[in-house]
Symmetry: C2
Subunit: 405 residues, 2 copies
């Protein structure tokens, strides 16, 4: 991270100035004590906005509406429900997405076109608009409402994912904060993954989109839980300029401080998503070095992080490097077998494409740690990439065998 | 199947005339009663030959050698071991592949260039050539040796996969037989999957390759167990002409009878591989109709059959059609959501992209059968494809967590 940046203790999406949030339980999800299922993120003033969205050809109408509204380059609020995805419900889906934004706009006293609706949960079920209508009116906004909002967007997540970073550009102090949800069905190209970021820096909208797309590409899109990509994935970034100063753009001298902050916050949230994969015990980080192209590095890293056989081996604490080499070979990346070097938790397992004698008990012992690092040097070029995944456990299968029944 | 074709009871790879086989236990795999780990398929006369091989960039030298020898269009024997894959062992791998063929050629009294070696098992371990040398000399060939050979090539397979079909072309009666192994790590584009087919029909080598490639493309390459593709996948087809008659080529009038027989036998073996996936309880067949292109149909079928979330849902007997739609959406195939129709075991679950009311208990009940049929009509064009997979179970994870340790 840049030397002008610092993590904020207990930071969240409302850590930047003039962002408020709140959440409520409106009845979409099965009631349990402390459950929340509907929330709002609100800026006291209109923001520039950037977004990245799922590549799935089946999209929630809420995603389609957000894509249209983000293209207007201005937004002021996000209204989010968990429990139902508002997907595969025919024409009613767009009507409900628009109405959900309208209801929130009325509650907030702003123009409906400035509200971005977002949904996550089961597909094929219509949103219960009566519950959302009464629920929104119960939402109390506050400057520390980010924690409640982070809870409200969780589905099978076991922990809230949130954080914030302070940074200084041209003498002005700013903050960027964010929340995310992930868990099952998270994969490169944005799976059932929602992330909402907010900053009080003033940022030019084109540059904001550039920074977000770049960060998403190397963080959220490099996470794989189970290889499926969902209909609702969304990352949104609002910038309200409440920190003062002049607009940050691609011409600002120390703009990299902002780029780095978006990148670091996204990376933190992406890793939290991987760590909290359904049933997962361990975070897997795959680093590829020495690739011929950046695309090759990305393909190789994602292929290894996505391999169920690698995930199973990590679960069992088994340094089965053969499966890593197999996943490398079918990744599509250029590989010369006799150049490959492989390290598990910094122990060299393979050099020049051949296994070298290693003390297996020691590697097995390090694989019992909660974070497993797999590093491959392809020794072909100068490009690198990192992907994250998690192990697959018996609990994952049990859990996903009984999700709707 | 063509009306001039019939399944042969208890058929195997030695059902066609003048094919012999035999197998032995040479000590590569852990000893258990009745275990076999080394075998030979032999034709009394030289054959035309066709082959298809793994697309993985890391290949066993045995595969590389077979690719070279198949290009010579003539072969007479295949020598196969299970337990060790002869992969990722540096230059020694090609030496051992060549020597394994030499040893078999000496035992059989034929030219070494007519012998195709094949290996499956752990990678990164050198073949124990002393064991193979003494093992090959113990192999007794016989006309019903196909059963033993089918057992010898198994690794984590729980059953042998073998079958044979008789067919008539231009008044001559012929047979094609085959054996296969699969289990873990089987995926489109040929995963740890070996299949050896033999026919006593006389077939022109170019036409033989055409028939095999076509059949593999729509059968073995449409199977997914866990999405990984291996370093050793091989399908070989030998034709010795012992059934008499003139050479079958792309000019033979009723050549489609042969094409169909190759196709049907490949499909049978591919389905047996899917059914016997590691830890699997159920065979999943995915049929795509109405796709805009054949490639779209294949992409969509494979995407659904490969989805871990679909596999988990089938394991739990859960008609979670949302996961099927999600896998369809990210398949890369052209999809218009409002045209999609979906059937599980012939019960219509979705029409025009929206779920229709179905009696869930009835669908759950039919999902407890050993074969689950998922049919999707994209209603965009005229193209179809079928893919096969299996459910994922807790046992799969347990098994693959502890494969080498």
């Amino acid at each position: 991270m840049s030397k002008n940046s610092n993590w904020i203790e207990a930071g969240t999406v409302t850590s930047p100035k003039k962002f408020l949030a709140g959440a409520t339980y409106c009845g979409i999800r099965t009631y349990t004590e402390d459950k929340l299922d509907l929330g709002i993120l609100f800026s006291e003033t209109p923001c520039t906005v950037a977004g990245t969205f799922t590549q799935n050809k089946v999209k929630s109408p809420s995603v389609v509406l957000d894509q249209q509204r983000v293209a207007n380059k201005s937004a002021q609020a996000i209204v989010i429900n968990s429990g139902i995805a508002n997907t595969s419900v025919g024409e009613q889906g767009m009507k409900d997405a628009i109405e959900m934004a309208d209801i929130a706009a009325l509650h907030l006293g702003i123009d409906p076109s400035l509200v971005l609706p977002s949904s996550t949960g089961l597909i094929g079920v219509e949103l219960p608009m009566a519950l959302i209508r009464s629920g929104v009116s119960n939402i109390q906004l506050s400057p520390d409402g980010g924690y409640a909002l982070a809870r409200a967007i969780r589905t099978t997540d076991t922990i809230s994912k949130e954080g914030a970073i302070s940074f200084t550009i041209q003498g002005n102090d700013y903050t960027i904060g964010g929340i995310a949800k992930g868990s099952g069905m998270v994969h490169p190209n944005m799976a059932t993954m929602l992330a909402f970021l907010a900053t009080d820096a003033p940022v030019d909208s084109s540059y904001l989109q550039y920074c977000l797309s770049k960060a998403v590409n190397s963080t959220f899109n490099m996470v794989s839980i189970d290889g499926d990509t969902s209909t609702n994935d969304t990352v949104l970034l609002l910038a309200n300029g409440a920190g003062g100063g002049t607009s940050i753009s691609d011409k600002t001298e120390d703009r990299h401080v902002f780029e780095d902050a978006v990148q670091e916050l996204s990376k933190f949230l992406a890793k939290e998503i991987a760590r909290d994969g359904e049933g997962a015990d361990k975070l897997i980080e795959v680093n590829i070095d020495g690739a011929l192209t950046e695309e090759d590095a990305r393909l190789a890293a994602k292929s290894i992080a996505s391999s169920i056989l690698v995930k199973s081996a990590v679960h069992g604490g088994d340094p089965n490097w053969g499966r890593i080499v197999v996943a490398l070979g079918y990744s599509g990346a250029e590989v010369r077998e006799d150049l490959v070097a492989l390290y598990i938790n910094e122990v060299c397992i393979m050099e020049e494409g051949r296994p070298i004698p290693f003390f297996k008990d020691a590697v097995v012992a390090t694989m019992n740690q909660p974070e497993i690092d797999i590093t491959v040097n392809l020794n072909l070029g100068e490009h690198s990439a990192t992907a994250w995944g998690c192990d697959i456990t018996e609990e994952y299968v049990t859990f996903n065998s009984a999700y709707t029944t």
